[in-house]
Structure formats: C-alpha cells, structure tokens
Symmetry: C2
Subunit: 116 residues, 2 copies
DNA sequence: TTCACGTGTAAGGAAAAAATGACACGTGAA
DNA sequence: TTCACGTGTCATTTTTTCCTTACACGTGAA
C-alpha cells in the first residue's frame, strides 16, 4: 500500500510549489488544457516574468512540464501541461516521508539548550 | 465523491503549513503519540519559541490540535496531537479547489499589459 | 529564596520568496 | 523599417518566513 510516495525532500518541494494561489491557479488552468506562456499570463492576469518564475518552480517540483514548439507562423511557443501527479497526504504518509528528509534544517546538533 | 475537500484558501494554508521540514517532522512525530511542547522541542532539537511558532501555524491550518492540561505536579502542559486529515491532491482536485480561492492575489485587474 | 521545568510572547535580524521593470533576441506582416 | 507577438533573463525592491534572544509568569521541591 501507500505508493511509497516521494522522498521527504521532494515532498517539501511539491508542497511548497503548490502552496501559492497563483501556482495553484496555474495548475488548475493547465488541468483543463495545455497552454503557452504568454496566453497563460493573459488568462491569469500576471506578468510574464512573474509567471515564468512560477512555472519554473512548478516544473522543478515535477508538477508540470513544458516544451518548446514551433507554431505555423514560425514562432517559438512554450507549451506547458500538468503531469498526472497524485499526492495522498495523511499523518502517517507524512511520517513515512519524513524518514527520507535530508534537510533536518536545524543545526543538527543535539539541541539548542537554553536554560542551562 | 471526492470529499469535497477544503476551500482554495484553506488548501493553500494547509499546503503552506506542510511545506516545511520542521513542521513536517512535527506532524510525523505527533502521528505516533501526542506530546507536550517542551518535550517535543527537545526531541526535534529546536528552540521552544521556534517550535511554538510552527505549532501555531500547523494548528491554524487544522492539521494539529493542542489543549492545556494540568499534570499531577500541577504544571500546565500543552499537549498536541494530529487531526486525521486526509488530503488527496491531483490536478483535478486542485482545479476544483481553485474555484473557491478568494485570494487571486494579483491586482485582480484584467492584466498588467506590458507591451501595449 | 532559589532552582528546575512548564507555559507564553515580543523585538529584531537574517534569509528566502514574490513581484516589478527594463532589457535582449527572433519572426512574420504591414 | 517598424510593429505585434513570441521567447527569455537580469537587477532590484518589496514582502514573508524563519529564527534567535530576551523576557514574563506559574508551580513544586530543595
């Protein structure tokens, strides 16, 4: 059971990628049909540079993929589409993923001991 | 079916709450047994003020709950435990949640139009 | 009283994320 | 050539998070 899921680090990256209104809307939009950057920017009402950053983040997390294509008019269009990710989050799933966390991120020392 | 899931805003909050190594480890730890703040801080190797902040964030997202109890020695102990949340994330689930997003967060105007 | 251990919060700085604006480059059509 | 539309990046500012330090309060035991 439990698809084994992503590693702890990957999970954090995916969650961080989804934990943003704009990126959530990007995923939602691409869930219906693939789209190219400029068009997507217009539909979402965000600037291209900003959209570009969000797209990179989503793609880095493996939630969307983009590829450059040439339109009939010879223009380079970058089309993005969603990958069919499937994250099932429960406390136990999190517990499992945490075992593969390589960024404990605190100083890794025993503890910051404060009162001694 | 599809539990109907949380609203878009709630989803963003939950995702943001989970998108952090420390908070993920908190959830993982509490998935096994409930625990009180100071003890949890020692186990995770983080300072109490820091843990406190993370706990608040998790509780605000509805992923954990805490209640103050009096120990036999009369000390006030705040015990936290995980709620049995169950988030199923797919592109279509995101698309559904986005419909209830109240923080489009961009200026809400049509678009920043840049070249015209 | 003092110490150990529990609770909590407020102030301030460092670091990361989000957002904007100004660029540069390429192509087809007027 | 110039315009419209596509691609991309870099530099900078604004905003959020994250984290530490320091403090305050309460109780039981030495």
């Amino acid at each position: 059971m439990s698809v084994g899921g992503p590693t702890g680090d990957d999970l954090v990256e995916m969650l961080a990628a989804l934990a943003n209104p704009i990126r959530l809307r990007i995923v939602a939009t691409l869930a219906g049909r693939r789209d190219y950057v400029s068009q997507l920017a217009r539909e979402l009402g965000v600037s291209r540079p900003l959209l570009h950053m969000h797209l990179r983040r989503l793609e880095a997390a493996g939630l969307i993929t983009g590829r450059l294509e040439l339109s009939d008019e010879g223009k380079a269009m970058k089309y993005y589409e969603v990958t069919d990710f499937d994250l099932h989050l429960t406390a136990s799933a999190v517990a499992e993923a945490v075992q593969t966390l390589t960024r404990p991120d605190p100083g890794k020392g025993p503890a910051p001991k404060e009162s001694t």
